[in-house]
């Protein structure tokens, strides 16, 4: 054909020999359901809604996660408790659309929404992959054990007035500032 042909034939034999040698090499495949490889702690899998250390829902239904989600798969409806705490009335994630990018976790100001290292969530139909709030809400704090949004934020709720939060100073009485 041309002057490269002899070199090509040698390389051809080389590649044949290489694959043949690999017949005795160690297998790379991991037999998955029997052998489970440890997942890194920051693996982005199934999403949960966590609670604060007092056992209350962390989510304050600010819609930030829903807004940031690139595939628009979070749907929620905000409402308010009598003590002034906001919470989501419904919270729905369509895992058949979620791409597990973790943006929702990054956007959340209350550390409520978190991704967990669990990916084994196959279902027979798309509908079963739409998780409602009952399926999302867990008992526990997830990756951030001590954080409690309402204790730190300067928002008044029943039992905590403005200025009573952790590290807060009471608000200045503006009358005393007058000349």
């Amino acid at each position: 054909m041309n002057k490269q042909t002899p070199a090509l034939l040698i390389r051809l034999w080389h590649s044949l020999w290489t694959t043949l040698r690999h017949a005795w090499a160690k297998r790379e495949t991991v037999s998955y359901p029997e052998i489970k490889r440890p997942l890194p702690g920051r693996w982005r899998g199934r999403i949960v809604l966590t609670r604060d250390p007092d056992g209350e829902e962390r989510c304050v239904a600010c819609y930030l996660c829903s807004a940031v989600c690139p595939v628009d798969c979070i749907h929620l409806q905000a409402t308010q408790r009598d003590d002034g705490r906001r919470y989501p009335e419904t919270f729905r994630i369509d895992f058949s659309r979620c791409i597990f990018c973790g943006f929702c976790e990054e956007a959340c100001p209350t550390l409520a929404i978190q991704l967990t290292p669990d990916f084994e969530m196959c279902e027979q139909s798309h509908g079963e992959l739409v998780y409602e709030k009952e399926q999302l809400l867990v008992e526990g704090q997830g990756k951030h054990p001590s954080y409690n949004f309402y204790r730190h934020a300067g928002i008044a709720i029943t039992g905590k007035a403005i200025g009573e939060g952790v590290g807060d100073t009471p608000p200045v009485d503006h009358d005393t500032n007058l000349p």
Binding site: M1, L12, L16, T18, T19, L20, A23, A25, R27, T29
Partner: protein
């Protein structure tokens, strides 16, 4: 012909057909296991012991899939094309002599018959690509046609040497003439036929009509379900056919010491099939121009040379 003879013929036909389909299914499993073996993987090992039931699972899956014809496709041709491919291969097997006294038909033009059918096979691929009416399929089909033209020629020429040596077109008589396998007398012809055979079956490194990386799935991009299965059956049976033909034409068919003829035939064919699988794991796909170069600038002159040398030597041998 008496009625019983008809019945017997029919029964043996059905038996051979089922046997071939079974072999095709086993090859599809065997290929994946062997590819995996050479690529540090495990391959299909879940369905049944050692994954042996994988072909059954595959067939069930393919059959139960939706029978979808793209709205832009040419319905009739689209439906017919996948049937052509396994059909031509299956009827080629009629003339392959498995052992000294076991064969289906002993045509005196068997070699021409096989070559003709293997040329017909490309129509399945080409029409499938054409009828799908999508750019990938069309390109795959075109490539397949060009590839076939470039490789039929040297293939046929390489076989003329065999015909000269044995003095017959009948595959049975060709094998009978091979006390000394023709690979010894026709080493060049053997290599040319083997390479062209691989090109004929569209296997790597000549799988340009399919070329997953560049053409989605080439000619069968738009195919799914049972039609796709037909194409695949055709491909695996094609591998079997080419291996059987190389065995018959160059490796002495059923000839061999101690073991019965069928066993020798099976062993030789199996070795060649393993070689096909091995080539598939090891070699990258040729570029289109390299394919053409190889076909026209190397294979064709080499085949002509082989023909010339065989003819001249044969002439002197016959004189002397």
């Amino acid at each position: 012909m008496s009625f019983t003879l008809w019945l017997l013929t029919f029964a043996s036909m059905v038996l051979v057909l089922l046997g071939l389909l079974l072999i095709g299914a086993i090859l599809s499993y065997g290929e994946r296991r062997i590819l995996a073996l050479l690529q540090d993987r495990l391959g299909p090992n879940r369905a049944g012991p050692f994954g042996l039931l994988q072909p059954v699972a595959d067939i069930l899956k393919l059959i139960s899939k939706e029978d979808f014809i793209p709205p832009f496709a040419d319905r009739i041709v689209y439906t017919v094309a996948p049937i052509i491919v396994p059909m031509t291969v299956l009827i080629s097997f009629a003339v392959v002599p498995v052992s000294e006294d076991e064969w289906l038909a002993d045509l005196n033009i068997a070699l021409l018959y096989v070559l003709a059918l293997s040329s017909l096979r490309v129509y399945g691929v080409m029409l499938g690509g054409w009828a799908s009416n999508s750019k990938y399929s069309l390109l795959g089909g075109l490539r397949s046609a060009a590839q076939m033209i470039s490789y039929e020629l040297p293939m046929g020429l390489a076989l003329v040497g065999v015909v000269m040596l044995s003095g017959s077109f009948s595959l049975r008589e060709i094998v009978a003439a091979q006390e000394l396998p023709f690979i010894v007398l026709q080493p060049l012809g053997f290599i040319i036929f083997l390479v062209c055979g691989i090109a004929e079956t569209n296997r790597l490194p000549f799988d340009l009509p399919e070329a997953e990386n560049e053409l989605a799935a080439g000619y069968n991009t738009e195919y799914g379900g049972i039609r796709f299965a037909f194409f695949y059956l055709g491909e695996y049976l094609g591998v079997l056919l080419i291996a059987a033909l190389v065995t018959v034409l160059f490796l002495g068919g059923w000839h061999g010491p101690w073991l019965p003829g069928v066993v020798w035939f099976a062993l030789k064919t199996l070795t060649l099939i393993l070689l096909f699988f091995w080539l598939r794991t090891s070699l990258p796909r040729l570029r289109y121009d390299q394919l053409m170069d190889l076909g026209w600038k190397l294979m064709l002159p080499a085949a002509l040379l082989n023909l010339l040398v065989t003819a001249v030597l044969g002439l002197f041998w016959m004189r002397g």
